[in-house]
């Protein structure tokens, strides 16, 4: 078979190019790049004039502190803690107000449906299932997001994120990963799916895969509300009221740091096993500090982020609410489907410090992590007595008194919230970016394996010390 004439001619041209390249020798590419740089330099120098020193020193002085080897990391921690503390301390009151209002609406709705004589299952499905799920999502997630996202966006707009990457770069390089992974990781705090797409900035396919597979180790904002709630209900409760919100913030910061540590550990493991190789060098540009534009920050953080996440949560919470209500209310043989599944998962859940309901919630919440807690609560409530959860105290009551949660349960759940399979969107994104079933499966299962291992270890050790059995 002879190739078409065009292709043959093209092959001849390529052969000629190869021959010519031989003649040019090794340094040719460097020369090419050098000539481009020389030309840019020549033109730039002719057209730019520097008058005085302007604001140079101002930017540089801040950078010297923010990216200093000694102060850089502690400063970052302080900033992170302040952001979480403001979120936790500020979200409490509006959360309760929203919950009170929304559950009042639920009561009225149920009363109206009953007055009209509508069948119990319709009332249950619509109000106790779907509406309660939505009400939970709105009241618990909206206030912290409305505080957290604007602050995060301000830091982003200021130009602080690349400094974070700069501070963390050496850690990633030592793990055998690309320094730019610190940027895609930072992006993952917003949304893991977005973080996975952002890995396109990494040139080497090996290092890009590491960044994709480990992105899920940092909590996205679908998971922050869970962490913040657990920190507020359980960790804060172990401290005197004056320190409560500080302790809650510290526990969330702790989980975030753990996430970074696991990102590094998993990267290191991958770089030593299936994705072996050296870290490649790169230049990271530190952009100038820019005064954030207030309107844009409000738009980005409230519309692009808060409303986006909220709508996504609501879109999955509504059908999930219906599914859970059905599971909890169809009871062949007197035991509800939800209870049966939960009972089946109980031994596994118990082994890792949690229970069957929590695992069931994680299975139902695969489409979106935002609905893990509402799912759990709906299953608990559907099976037990109806409680109105219009405050954190009542939620605590439900979990601790009625369902035997301990500090160990909360800690294991916080760990599991950090270390479990990515949400459906992220899994789909990993597949789109890698086009490989193998890497997608690894990306989905590796964090889950970490989660089971870590939670099992924590639960076993804690119980061995007779603590939180």
């Amino acid at each position: 078979m002879t190739p078409p004439p065009g292709e043959q001619k093209a092959a001849e041209v390529l052969a000629k190019a190869d021959a010519l390249r031989q003649g040019l020798g090794e340094g040719f590419r460097d020369q090419l790049v050098a000539s481009l740089y020389q030309e840019s330099q020549r033109i730039a120098r002719r057209s730019v004039r520097r008058s005085g020193t302007g604001g140079w020193s101002w930017d540089q002085r801040i950078d010297r502190i923010v990216t200093s080897p000694i102060l850089g990391l502690p400063l970052m921690l302080v900033l992170l803690s302040v952001v979480f503390w403001l979120t936790i301390a500020g979200a409490n009151v509006p959360s309760q107000m929203l919950a009170t209002a929304l559950f009042w609406v639920e009561e009225q709705g149920v009363a109206v449906f009953q007055a009209w004589g509508l069948p119990f299952w319709l009332t249950g499905l619509l109000w106790n299932g779907i509406f309660r799920g939505l009400a939970w999502v709105v009241s618990v997630m909206l206030p912290p997001m409305a505080i957290f996202f604007p602050m995060f966006t301000i830091l982003e707009d200021l130009g602080y994120l690349p400094r974070v990457a700069f501070n963390l770069d050496w850690l990633f390089r030592r793990a055998g990963a690309h320094g730019k992974q610190s940027l895609t990781m930072a992006m993952g705090f917003g949304c893991n799916a977005a973080g996975v797409v952002a890995t396109r900035i990494i040139n080497s396919p090996r290092e890009r895969l590491i960044a994709i597979l480990t992105n899920n180790f940092v909590p996205c904002n679908g998971r922050f509300p869970t962490l913040i709630m657990l920190g507020t209900i359980f960790v804060a409760a172990a401290f005197p009221p004056a320190l409560a919100s500080v302790a809650a913030a510290a526990s969330v910061v702790g989980v975030v740091l753990l996430g970074v540590a696991f990102t590094l550990l998993a990267s290191w493991l991958l770089a030593r096993t299936v994705l072996r190789g050296e870290a490649s060098a790169f230049t990271l540009e530190l952009p100038p500090y820019r005064r954030p534009s207030i309107l844009r920050i409000l738009y980005t953080s409230l519309i692009d982020r808060t409303i986006f996440v909220l709508l996504r949560a609501m879109a999955t919470a509504a059908p999930a609410g219906a599914v859970i209500w059905i599971l909890a209310n169809i009871s062949p043989g007197g035991v509800s489907l939800a209870d049966r599944v939960a009972a089946f998962l109980e031994p596994l859940g118990n082994a890792i410090g949690m229970d069957g309901v929590i695992l069931l919630a994680y299975i139902i919440a695969i489409p979106a992590n935002e609905i893990v807690v509402p799912t759990m609560i709906m299953v608990y409530m559907g099976t037990g007595m109806m409680t109105e959860l219009d405050s954190y105290d009542q939620l605590r009551q439900l979990l601790v008194v009625e369902h035997n949660w301990t500090l160990l349960t909360a800690i294991c759940l916080m760990l599991f919230a950090l270390l479990h399979n990515p949400c459906g969107t992220t899994i789909l994104t990993i597949w789109k970016e890698t086009r490989s079933g193998k890497w997608t499966a690894l990306g989905a299962l590796m964090p889950l394996a970490f989660g089971f291992t870590v939670c099992f270890a924590v639960a076993t050790v804690a119980r061995a010390f007779g603590w939180g059995s």
Binding site: E7, L32, E39, S47, G55, D157, K180, R200
Partner: protein
């Protein structure tokens, strides 16, 4: 939302009002295709948002835009499609964002490519502009962040820049929309051929120059009328895998055919003519 009309024009009375209209995602029936390229973090997305009225996320860190965004605007009643490409420092290596940018400029055949550069870091930024100009001559340099340059005490002589590069250059502050009207007017001039361009080429080593001039005619024989055979020759000499494959598949010949089918709009210096 409309932007201020051109200064010095009494636009209430003149028949063809020089005005910019943001078209958002309405892209149907566009007449010209305009690409936005530039280093990361130079404000490309700000330019994009200001022209199209869309709200592509803008963030102060390199690597924000990794895929391309598309939007539309209309100027003097002529519709344009604007494509925001990922920010890159160069077109020479093979990371995915660079490939997206390069392939779009090469195969998407934009009628004009706006290279957004950071006025405070021209030395580094012009590097990309020169590489884009190797692929297409229809380039407008958008010298953005002029406010930061002023703050840092830098004076950028945009006219000398345009003269040295051989393509028009427009000073802008995309965040406050300063200079964007002039930018669009210049783009309109370049796509219609009213503004002639004569892009400079970075001078290279004589041995390399010889090799290029030996190879370029062979490529042109394969794809007659191809405007950037010189750039393709350079890429082949560098052993660029993608360009080799494209040549084998006859993709460049396809480009040249599309090009010769299009009506010639103007002068000899124009590199790529779009076809709709």
């Amino acid at each position: 939302m409309k932007m201020n009309p051109l200064p010095g024009h009494d636009c209430e009375t003149c028949p063809a009002r020089a005005e910019l209209e943001q078209m958002g995602i309405r892209l149907e029936n566009y007449q010209y295709l305009v690409a936005l390229a530039g280093n990361p973090n130079t404000g490309k997305s700000s330019v994009f948002n200001a022209l199209t009225g869309l709200r592509q996320h803008v963030g102060n860190w390199p690597g924000k835009t990794v895929s391309r965004a598309e939007g539309g605007f209309s100027f003097n009643g002529v519709r344009y499609k604007l494509v925001d490409l990922p920010g890159t420092y160069s077109l020479l290596s093979a990371s995915q964002d660079e490939e997206i940018t390069r392939n779009f400029i090469l195969f998407g055949q934009p009628d004009c490519t706006v290279v957004v550069v950071d006025a405070t870091a021209l030395e580094r930024n012009l590097n990309l502009a020169l590489q884009v100009m190797e692929i297409t001559g229809k380039v407008v340099l958008c010298v953005n962040l002029m406010d930061e340059a002023r703050r840092k005490g830098l004076e950028v002589d945009v006219r000398s820049l345009a003269k040295d590069l051989g393509v028009p250059a427009v000073p802008t502050v995309a965040r406050t929309k300063e200079g964007l009207h002039e930018l669009v007017r210049t783009v309109a001039g370049v796509v219609t051929g009213e503004i002639r361009v004569s892009p400079v080429r970075a001078s290279t080593d004589p041995a390399l120059e010889d090799a290029v001039s030996e190879l370029a005619p062979l490529i042109e024989a394969l794809a007659p009328g191809l405007p950037n055979s010189r750039w393709i020759a350079l890429r082949l000499l560098d052993g660029d895998h993608q360009v080799r494959q494209a040549l084998l598949r006859g993709e460049f010949a396809g480009l040249a055919e599309k090009q010769s089918a299009a009506p010639t709009r103007s002068g000899p210096l124009i590199a790529l003519e779009g076809t709709r």
